[in-house]
């Protein structure tokens, strides 16, 4: 399993509306030149708030499913 994943941004779906930027509790996201970037990846806690609030399905958080004892 990988150790540090970040939310995936589909730039074709993203309209740079900024809703996720405002919603991110860790302020990890920014709009730069009308493009969404994870500007502070070290602050991202993968809470998936960005995915929850995105009206266009442009941000996704995927999960590996495993047993805790693995």
């Amino acid at each position: 399993m990988t150790d540090w994943e970040l939310p995936e941004i589909d730039q074709e779906k993203c309209t740079a509306c900024g809703v996720c930027v405002d919603a991110c509790p860790q302020h990890a996201l920014e709009l730069r030149e009308s493009r969404l970037v994870i500007a502070n990846p070290q602050d991202c806690t993968y809470c998936a708030t960005c995915e929850d609030v995105c009206p266009h399905g442009a941000v996704t958080c995927s999960y590996e499913i495993g047993w805790a004892c693995d």
């Binding site: 929850d52 499913i65 495993g66 047993w67």
Partner: protein, 218 residues
């Protein structure tokens, strides 16, 4: 392009002679993640086999909601069924769930090969029987089980098979629900100490209790 035909489940047990004959009909294709491979109701033109990556097979409701039928991985085939029947259309949509490498065979070559290569025909029948059993299981789950039961069964299966990564939206499409419902069900399971979210992992904590939920005993 180097690939091993025996990595394809349907082809794995075939003789060298049969594989040599089939190889002349196979084309190599690649698709980027989220690329559309085929559309439901279009005339069937190709049968596909996955060399690497994952492919989502899904249906679309008139209101746009998706029902994910299967997420197929390396070695599996799709769009076989309409190739058995002359003039049939594709039965479902297929989309690359990751970057994929495929082999494809024209449906007429596939159909001719079924007749001319008996062991290929037998292998195709065996493979379709396995897939039909999976479809029956899916229908049973969708029609008879609650979302919570389906989710518990899904989580157990994915954990047992280390079957790749899923977004909550993809889980919802697989389980015949919507993202919000799946999200709430997962949070409830977390509150019940059945699972734990650990960054990009969902860790299952209690197989016995999850299995009881999947079996409808809790």
């Amino acid at each position: 392009m180097n690939y091993d035909l025996r990595s394809i489940q349907l082809l794995a047990g075939l003789s060298v002679e049969t594989l040599d004959t089939l190889s002349t009909c196979l084309q190599y294709k690649t698709y980027k993640k989220n690329g559309a491979i085929l559309w439901e109701k279009d005339p069937c033109r190709w049968v596909y086999f996955i060399l690497s990556g994952k492919v989502d097979i899904y249906l679309l409701a008139p209101n746009g909601r998706e029902q994910l039928l299967e997420r197929l991985g390396a070695g599996e085939g799709f769009n076989l069924v309409p190739a058995f029947k002359h003039g049939a259309n594709n039965q479902a949509n297929a989309r690359a769930a990751s970057d994929v490498e495929l082999l494809r065979i024209n449906k007429d070559d596939f159909s001719d090969s079924l007749e001319c290569l008996p062991e290929f025909g037998k292998a195709a029948a065996d493979y379709l029987a396995q897939r039909l059993a999976r479809m029956v299981n899916l229908v049973e789950n969708l029609s008879l089980l609650s979302v919570r039961q389906r989710l518990a069964a899904f989580l157990i299966k994915q954990a047992d098979h280390h079957a790749g990564r899923w977004t909550q939206d993809e889980m919802a499409r697989r389980l015949g629900s919507v993202r919000d419902v799946i999200g709430r069900a997962l949070r409830k399971m977390e509150d019940e100490s059945l699972i734990r979210f650990e960054r990009q992992r969902i860790l299952l904590l209690d197989r016995e209790r999850l299995q009881k939920i999947a079996d409808g005993e809790q």
